[in-house]
Amino acid sequence: MNIEGGLPEKLEWIRDSLEFFGPELILFTGIIIVLCAGIIVPSVRTGRSHGVPLILALVTTLLACALSLADWNAQGEATDLFGGMVINDRFSSWLKIVCDLAGALTLLLSLPSSQERKHVSEYAALVLGVVLGAHFLSMSVGMVMIFLSLELISISSYVLAGYSFRQAGAEGSLKYFLFGTASSAIMLYGLSLLYGLTGSGIIASREFAEGLMEHQSLLLLVAGLLALAGFLFKMAALPMHLWAPDVYEAAPMPVVALFSVVPKLAGLAVLTRFVLAVTAYGQTAFDWKAIVGLIAILTITAGNVAALRQVNAKRMMAWSSIAHSGFLLIGVGALTEQSVQFMMFYAAVYFVANYVVFGYLQYFESRGLQTIPDFAGTGRSDPAAHTLLLTGLISLTGIPPTAGFTAKLLIFTGLYDAYRTTNDPFLLWILVPGLLNTVISLFYYLRIPYYAFIRDGQSTPVKYLTWTNFLGLVLVLILLGLFFRPDGLMGWINKITFVL
């Protein structure tokens, strides 16, 4: 092969690729700026104007979001960049938008509690790091990129998990680190085997698919599962979910909110691409959809039943987020174009509802309510906050009149539709317990309102017009609006033409 031969056009497409990297570049510069702000501005170091880095990071995420939006509108079809290392399509743009908004909300949530937090600028930088890693991960199809961006997210998360500088935080990040490294090693092993089997480091490439065609063996299955393990770890899905409860319990609330959305969605994106790749246009010997479906249903069930008896609110939400990653996986299990679109819708709704809940959990935590029994009787004194929280929880459950219902309806519709087209009874077997799980989930979701409203307890009245209530109200209105008029958002999502 001739090396100089390829060189000019390689430089050519590198230059072309760069213009699709607006959001990522913004985030990168954001990280630098925030760090420099932390170093240069003395008042940040002394902790007096702690808000500054957060505001800067917030602006950065919003800019990134705007840019992602821009190239959402710009490009219609998928374009692969950097020699196919990454793909930029509407699928990834959508996830980028959601992740940016999630990052922004996280920073917003961390504003009130930032004064008792040290190293605010590093904190902001790490949050941006997570978001940036999510950006890369949602785009990447090259194994190297997958691995690197996954590690980018992981390493930032390890540090963030311990950001409440307490014993619990240290323990959480330690566990997170050990588990995460192990799972990434496992994934790496799987990826290496896949590379060996196909001879291509890019899962979207043609020779990857051909290589799969040649080796439809058990080893391929094992390799795929090992690789899958890493993604499942990011999504906190079975069997790689074990870290989630402990870490969630340990981490500060905004970080937990971030964990429950951004790495999950990024992992979901890469998992979707991966499953689509290994199914190799449906010619594979193994029913990867069924595997994902199985994992999904196990995850849903495990998450829901385990959440039933939780005492700590954060821990309960951890299990709930596990269950929800199961619901998201259903979209992958069906793996039709609609189902992926519905999955995106679900992701958006889940993101909003989750932030409502975590926002209020932080609000109540600041008032000293840690465990669920602490909430007893607080609903009487603070009905506004609790009603908004209740709406968020109901949306997570999936009951009208909240968008959660629409999202679940659509997810199951997608499944049903897949069942209709590919007459695969397995999908039906996912459908039924999936629906039953909704009932189970209601129990723990309603426990906080139950304690707050029905159980008696002493509580002091508080004023309604708070910053949190305003934020919550906005998000709740979004949830309600998405129930009453989902067609706007859905029509938008319909533009996602999902190909590798």
Partner: protein
């Protein structure tokens, strides 16, 4: 040339040993050692497979990046372990389990 299967068997051994170390050793640093072993096993795979597909250097590239990442992980991991050690006066995760199902 050495058949690729031999590389693979070697990597499998290292991987399993690493896994064993991870599970068996109580000290966090020892666990870290095991993890490093597992990463190495993956690297061996990559390099070996690159022999099978020699026209591009993907495998070796990948291996290099893995090494870098491994270094990063080691750094952060040790930092974390040291924090935990400072707070708990032990580096044995089993003694550090305040977070568990109530």
């Amino acid at each position: 040339m050495i058949p690729i299967e031999h590389y693979l068997i070697l990597s499998a051994m290292l991987f399993s040993i690493g896994l064993m170390v991870v599970v068996v050793k109580r000290n966090a640093i020892a666990v870290l050692l095991g993890l490093e072993l597992m990463l190495n096993a993956a690297n061996i795979n990559l390099v070996a497979f690159n022999l099978a597909h020699p026209e591009r250097l993907d495998g070796q590239m990948f291996a290099v990046f893995v090494i870098i990442v491994a270094a990063c992980e080691a750094a952060v991991g040790l930092a974390i372990i040291l924090r935990a050690y400072r707070l708990f006066h032990t580096a044995v995760p089993d003694d550090i389990s305040t977070l568990k199902e109530s």
